[in-house]
Amino acid sequence: MSKPEQFSVSRRDFLKTAGVGSLATAVITATEANLDAQSTPRVVGPGEVPVTLTVNGTRVDLRIEPRVTLLDAVRNRADLTGNKRVCDRGTCGACTMIVDGRTVYACSTLAIEVQGKQIRTVDGLARADGTLHPVQQAFCDKDALMCGFCTPGFVMATVALIEQHPNPTVDQARKALDGNICRCGTFVRVLEAALEAGRMVARG
């Protein structure tokens, strides 16, 4: 039940970035870098503010409170309801989206934080003509879903896995999908689907 490896910055990576400095030093350095970039700190909210997101290649203009999560913004305000809210605290992965190439728990990411980034949700994965992404096709072929509520998150985590490791090993696939929970118990077939999708992509 550990987090998948491509999730944000691992503790080890963070310490590596921090070099020989202490954790506190690293935090101060990061804050200073932000201040430099923005020149002055800015208070936003608590009322509605304009937020612009780029979701599945389409610009979405919203007026939302700064506390609104990426998941709720996309689901409740843009009616892209594919990704689900389940645990609502970054544990189960049902909300998994891909932001600038990395998977994020959208329930624990503020919408306002990801302006200007490329956000991909499960809703935009299939081609416009309806052709399924190889990962989606493999999930259908292997019956890697039952009630289907965790499925969008598993699909997105698998897409990120395949993009990082085309034709992944069993261990890579297990690790990448460890951040997602299914209550119906589809795991055996999700793993088969992830490996099959990898083979499909490898074959072209």
């Binding site: 609502d88 999930f139 019956d143 118990g185």
Partner: protein, 712 residues
């Protein structure tokens, strides 16, 4: 009894094959709209106000601050001042506001004053002689004793007697889509999208609670994110949602959050039993005497079968329900059976060791008579061979090192009978077919088997049949519980499709110059039996239908389904005796379910049942703080569930028994896994752990007791 014309085909083209889930593409693309995904024009959001106390009296409810909150629209109460709340999470009121964030803000601003009362947070506390009387009719409810044979004679015949206390814990359903609804009124007509296992039951529930005609209620559940027995009624949150929508004159979405889901939507009750059991020197069971108890929360029962499966000729059992201040139990995947199975199967391995018999041979010796619904002897033998049971060592892994490996086995049974279900079939003159049935797909693949059975009957590909379910506008079908759905729905579809096909045959027969009874439907053609050259394509045949489509109603009839399944599971586990961590490495599940409809989705049910039971055995546990009565893990990071790396190699063997007709498979495969794992842990460590879950601290404690003088 169903007309023999509608009997299941001897040589099916679709049935028992692997047909991919029809709604797979909708689910993998996010197009599938669950209740949680329904966004209606002008929709506002509801949120609940709940008791933070395990037991209290409501002194006052003041919503004035909430009414001034941004976006507030309306509020309703569920309880009035003076009423008692009986558990943390007991509903008190609900509010609606323009956004979900505002609704939760407003709910927090509802000021409820409570007078706290003494609470009971464990079975032991409720049963204590000096326990405060929390429940007016008593904190416990003793059932009648159940007695067969002559207990004294049974124990006299015993060469060995085992006496110990066994127990299982409380787990919650953790449906990934929380309970909830979207309610929308048009005058006095209610449309409710509900995450439910029973659309028609929900319509009845709304009508009764809101005092409107049931025919004014439409319930829709096209997709739902897991129920496992906890989602049969609108529940209070559904009723409050409808009331908020009526008051606000706007559609309201009210979905519970994760904490509410843990606290107030059901659980699998605990089970305890103090058991004394005897076996004679030949390995034949002689006697079983048990006092059992368990809690289903605040006021609900906690029954379970005991002893389970094995034949104790002389037995007595006395059960007591215990009430505590926690959310009430609801049916959960094979209610009662995982508990009764664990309590019995651990004991069986202890008894087998007393008479120095192999656990498989010991079980086979003590089985009830074999039959189509009692195939255990065959599965024990077949499974032992496939699993490599002959490599099992005696109790206690003799190999050095901290990682001990062991094997365990366990058996289970379930009913899964069919019952009244209705259906409607239309065949249009262009050859298109629609099948309607007011059942619902809770993730088992019901939509797919509805289409499969109709397609099989019409000799068409599955893609040529439109299956419409999940709506009370379709003919009545019962709730999806008790593994009854497949056995209820498929006969209804078979009979109704058969009748529709008869009508088509009657219209087509004159054009072929034969009697209608001489016709058959296969390979998308209507053919003359015994004269395959004489045929007409389905499409051409349907042209004779004309403008008025063939439109037929039908219902479940006896003879196409039956009841009673059996299964056996083998488990291999590794135990780290230094950390107490248990890792399941292999599971083999042998299972029957009568006529297998869709082999692909039936296997998925078995995989899912096994995984659910791995969670029950090793991970999940509803933890109540005894001092405060609060659940300490109402979330998904401290309420543990298996992830991908926790999943062992799982092999499923389904025994197709077409002569029995259809029987459900949703529940049986989850019954015996945990017991098989516990027996594997016992075989690995040599220590007997008589209580679930097998958390590391309990494993280490058992190992300590074993070293200190034995757990036997």
């Amino acid at each position: 009894m169903a007309d023999p014309r509608y009997a299941w085909p001897a040589n099916p083209t679709l049935l028992s094959t692997r047909v991919k889930r029809l709604d797979g593409p909708d689910k993998v693309t996010g197009r599938a709209r669950y209740t949680y995904d329904i966004n209606r024009p002008g929709m506002i959001y509801g949120a609940m106000v709940r008791s933070p106390h395990p037991h209290a009296r409501i002194v006052s409810i003041d919503a004035s601050a909430a009414e001034k909150a941004p976006g507030f629209r309306t509020a309703v109460t569920a309880k009035e001042p003076g009423a008692r709340v009986l558990y943390q999470g007991d509903p008190v009121a609900a509010v609606a506001a323009d956004t979900e964030e505002h609704a939760r803000d407003a709910a927090r601003l509802v000021k409820v004053e409570y007078e706290r009362l003494p609470h009971l947070s464990s079975e032991a506390a409720a049963m204590a002689a000096d326990a405060p009387l929390v429940f007016p009719s008593g904190n416990t409810r003793k059932g009648n004793a159940d007695e067969t044979g002559n207990l004294d004679a049974g124990f006299k015949a015993a060469a060995h007697v085992v006496e110990a206390t066994y127990s299982t814990h409380v787990i919650t359903h953790v449906c990934l889509e929380t309970h909830g609804a979207v309610c929308e009124w048009d005058g006095d007509t209610l449309t409710a999208w509900v995450s439910t296992q029973g659309v028609h039951q929900c319509a009845q529930g709304f009508a009764q609670a809101l005092q409107i005609p049931q025919t004014n209620v439409r319930v829709i559940t096209q997709y739902m994110g897991g129920g496992f027995g906890s989602k049969f009624a609108p529940d209070l949150q559904g009723i409050l949602c409808a009331k908020l929508a009526r008051q606000a004159q706007a559609p309201v979405k009210l979905m519970l959050d994760r904490k509410e889901e843990h606290l107030d939507t059901g659980n699998r009750p605990s089970a305890f039993a103090k058991i004394r059991a005897g076996v004679d020197s030949s390995g034949r069971l002689t006697a079983f005497d048990a006092q059992s108890w368990g809690t289903g929360g605040a006021g609900a029962g906690a029954g379970f079968p005991l002893p389970y499966i094995y034949d104790f000729p002389n037995r007595k059992r006395q059960h007591t329900d215990v009430f505590i201040n926690a959310g009430q139990q609801r049916a959960m995947r094979a209610p009662g059976h995982p508990q009764g199975c664990f309590l019995t199967e651990i004991l069986m391995d202890e008894l087998a060791d007393r008479v120095r018999m192999d656990p498989v041979a010991f079980r086979v010796k003590n089985l009830p008579p074999a039959g189509p619904n009692a195939m255990w002897a065959q599965y024990f033998e077949q499974g032992a061979k496939q699993f490599g049971w002959d490599r099992r060592h005696a109790t206690g892994d003799p190999n050095p090192g901290p990682i001990k490996t062991g094997m365990g086995v366990s058996a289970h049974r379930w009913g899964g009978a069919g019952r009244g279900s209705q259906a409607h079939v239309d065949i249009a003159s262009d050859g298109s077919v629609v099948v309607k049935c007011g059942t619902q797909d809770i993730g088992t693949g019901t939509r797919t088997i509805v289409a499969m059975v109709a397609a099989e009957t019409f000799g068409l590909p599955v893609s040529a049949v439109k299956a419409e379910i999940g709506d009370t506008r379709y003919p009545f079908s019962g709730g999806s519980g008790g593994s009854t759905t497949a056995a209820s729905v498929t006969p209804a579809i078979r009979v109704t499709s058969g009748k529709a096909l008869d009508e088509l045959f009657m219209k087509v027969a004159p054009t072929l110059g034969v009697e209608w009874t001489d016709l058959a439907a296969e390979n998308a053609r209507i053919v003359v039996k015994g004269n395959p050259a004489k045929s007409v394509s389905w499409k051409d045949a349907c042209k004779v239908i004309g403008t008025e489509p063939i439109s037929v109603d039908g219902r479940w009839e006896d003879g196409l389904s039956s009841s009673g399944t059996s299964g056996v599971q083998f488990a291999e586990a590794q135990v780290d005796v230094e950390t107490g961590i248990v890792r399941v490495t292999r599971i083999l599940a042998l299972q029957d379910c009568g006529l297998i409809v869709d082999r692909l989705t039936a296997e998925s049910q078995a995989y899912g049942g096994v995984v659910a039971a791995i969670n029950f055995a090793l991970f999940e546990d509803r933890l109540l703080d005894r001092g405060t009565g609060q659940m300490v893990n109402p979330n998904m990071e401290m309420y543990l569930l298996a992830g991908m790396s926790d999943i062992p190699k799982i092999d499923i063997v389904l025994n197709n028994m077409p002569e029995r007709g259809v029987i459900g498979i949703g529940e049986p495969p989850t019954v015996s896994t945990a017991s098989a794992i516990a027996n594997a842990v016992r075989n690995a460590t040599g220590a007997t752990i008589r209580s679930l879950p097998l958390h590391p601290h309990k494993v280490l404690a058992a190992l300590d007791r074993e070293r200190a003088g034995g757990t036997l």
